[in-house]
């Protein structure tokens, strides 16, 4: 009489069983296409919307960040509100901070928003007009295209001269701004230079700008300079630079509510954090449809187990163990869900590209987003396939064989 042996090739068996279960799963998905698509619909919508939301939010974040980055991240903007006439800082005081710390700062320029209407001839137009110092071009990585930038003499002698960005040159002056005039608050400024394109020469971009000497701007507006832009050697020096500015200002003002220092690199991490949180919230909401999709799969799998009771009985009579049956149904659920995930990913990529074109941002899903969505859809199949699979594996072979 033979002795019953335990299976030595358990590993092999499991592998074989998985590939067969996988083949069977694909077969049953393909034989009832309508039902499979309805089963997968929840997962398709869930994965699709997760991909779309992540892509759009990522695109939006990148768009905002690139705007900030074109302004430079090694930049600290200092606003001084002042505290009466006794506790005030002069332009020279602010320059002294730079002079004393040349190892961290690249330079400093006062910056003044120019109020007052902009006119080309008799026509009003809008642009970002700033009063700045002669080194502003170098500090902010601008390059001159035609003519020259502001000079030390322009600043010192209150010259009424202006340098314009490529958008203004192209769209307001038809590319012939040099030598022409711009009227700011009723005063005529001669355009002495045109800057090279820095962003994309569109309205409201960095190229939509006009620079005049800060001294002139201050004089015309009858107001003192209160904003300074410090440029550090690189972003690593930002916090050290901030501290040294703060020291000077605090010792003069004796209080920290009379000035404000904005670190552009902080701003960027704030934006990243904010959009990150928003993405999480939106994806969380989209994730609910993944849950609903999972329940849909569970539902159909439970029906499938009932329909295939006899098959389960046959398999058990042939020696299938609980885990064999369980594995088969879980693989089937996971395959269905994963296929839904793949369809959802494809739809997500197409739709987010299309939406990105409409709102003019680059919204391409990252490989990470795709991998994560795919893994989640497989995981959902396994999770929600577990209950039906467990039910199948516990069927009594005798009852199952008798089932019609």
């Amino acid at each position: 009489m033979t002795v019953i042996q335990s299976t030595p090739l358990r590993e092999v068996m499991i592998n074989m069983n998985i590939s067969q279960s996988f083949k069977l799963a694909l077969k049953s998905i393909l034989t009832s296409k309508m039902r499979s698509i309805l089963t997968m619909l929840g997962i398709i919508i869930g994965v699709g919307s997760v991909i779309i939301l992540i892509s759009l939010m990522q695109g939006l974040t990148n768009e905002i960040l690139s705007t900030f980055e074109s302004m430079g991240t090694n930049v600290l903007q200092v606003e001084v509100y002042g505290r009466g006439s006794t506790r005030a800082v002069s332009v020279d005081d602010m320059y002294k901070i730079y002079d004393d710390n040349k190892d961290i700062f690249l330079g400093v320029s006062p910056q003044m928003y120019v109020s007052g209407d902009l006119k080309y001839g008799t026509e009003n137009f809008y642009s970002n007009a700033l009063g700045v110092a002669e080194n502003y071009m170098l500090l902010n990585d601008w390059k001159i295209k035609e003519g020259r930038f502001l000079s030390y003499a322009d600043v010192r002698d209150y010259h009424k001269v202006a340098v314009v960005g490529s958008y203004v040159n192209k769209n307001i002056y038809g590319g012939k701004a040099i030598g022409d005039y711009v009227k700011i608050g009723g005063n005529k400024y001669t355009i002495i230079g045109v800057l090279e394109e820095k962003a994309d020469s569109t309205e409201y971009s960095a190229d939509d700008c006009i620079f005049v000497p800060y001294t002139t701007a201050s004089k015309m507006a009858y107001s003192s300079i209160n904003t300074y832009v410090y440029t550090t050697k690189n972003t690593d020096f930002n916090s050290e630079a901030k501290a040294s500015i703060e020291n000077t200002l605090y010792s003069v003002m004796q209080g920290d509510t009379y000035y404000n220092i904005t670190d552009m690199s902080d701003l960027i991490s704030e934006v990243t954090e904010m959009t990150g949180t928003m993405t999480m919230v939106l994806v969380g909401i989209a994730g609910i449809s993944l849950l609903v999709g999972g329940i849909g799969i569970m539902n159909i799998m439970l029906v499938s187990v009932t329909e295939r009771t006899r098959e389960i009985g046959i398999r058990k009579s042939l020696g299938a163990k609980r885990r064999d049956i369980m594995g088969q149904f879980i693989i089937e659920a996971a395959t269905t869900s994963a296929l839904g995930g793949v369809i959802g990913i494809v739809i997500g990529i197409v739709v987010s590209g299309w939406l990105g074109d409409i709102i003019e941002i680059k919204a391409d899903p990252t490989p990470t987003a795709i991998m994560i969505s795919f893994s989640i859809s497989v995981f959902i199949g396994i999770l929600f396939g577990f209950l039906p699979a467990n039910k199948a594996s516990k069927l009594n072979p005798i009852d199952a064989l008798r089932h019609d």
Binding site: M1, T2, V3, I4, Q5, S6, T7, P8, L9, R10, V12, M13, M16, N17, Q20, L24, K27, S28, T31, R310, E311, G313, I314, R315, K316, S317, L318, G319, A320, K321, R322, D324, P397, I398, L401
Partner: protein, 215 residues
């Protein structure tokens, strides 16, 4: 259904028919012999091993290695082709892919269906389907072949073929247990065990099994 006091020994190489009307307890006996169920009390030894208190997984293993089932309704899986159906028990037994195909093809050749490997069950006649299920039962080279009303769904000519084939398998040394309600089928076996009301009322050679006429 089965009452106490049933004692039955089946030896290697025997061809035993268990016969009884429905409700006689033969199904319960078959389920226990087939390791599909365990007795509420008493022992069942198979190949010298007590299997009366084994758990589901152990029973599955015994079914896989020791038993080959032939059912009245063939019980083939409709979505799998002939070869895949025959491979199933080998698959659950952990036999590697190439060996599985080799053994399955051998079993199918034995029942004369080597040219139908890729056919689906519903493309075959009833007799052919039953032969596939015989091949499936044979493929793993089990100690016992358990045939539950194997001719129940077949016409008399095909039934004859199946019975002759079972006899041939027995001649080749296979142990066969045939379960049936039909006395004339039971007579084909060498030994007949008659069950009535949960008790064995006859256990002996098939020639004298139905002499007393008390059905």
């Amino acid at each position: 259904m089965l009452q106490t006091g049933v004692s039955l020994k089946i030896y290697k190489g025997e061809f035993v028919a268990i016969v009884g009307k429905s409700g006689s307890g033969k199904s319960t006996l078959m389920n226990i012999i087939g390791c599909l169920d365990v007795p509420t009390s008493g022992q069942y030894y198979i190949n010298g091993e007590d299997v009366s208190e084994l758990n589901d997984n152990k029973l599955a293993q015994i079914r896989n290695k020791t038993l080959g089932f032939i059912f009245q309704q063939y019980n083939l899986i409709t979505k799998l082709n002939v070869l895949e159906n025959v491979e199933l028990s080998l698959l659950y037994g952990g036999v590697g892919a190439s060996e599985r195909v080799r053994l399955s093809k051998m079993a199918l050749a034995k029942v004369g269906l080597e040219d139908k490997l890729k056919n689906l069950p519903n493309q075959l006649s009833g007799g052919q389907q039953q032969r596939v299920s015989i091949a499936r039962a044979l493929a793993g080279n089990p100690s016992i072949i358990l045939a539950d009303e194997p001719t129940g769904a077949l016409d008399s000519k095909t039934s004859r073929e199946v019975l002759d084939f079972l006899k041939q398998l027995n001649d080749e040394g296979n142990t066969i247990v045939l379960i049936t309600h039909d006395n004339s089928i039971a007579k084909e076996a060498r030994r007949v065990v008659r069950i009535k009301d949960g008790k064995i009322i006859y256990d002996g050679d098939s020639e004298h099994a139905f002499e007393r006429g008390d059905d």
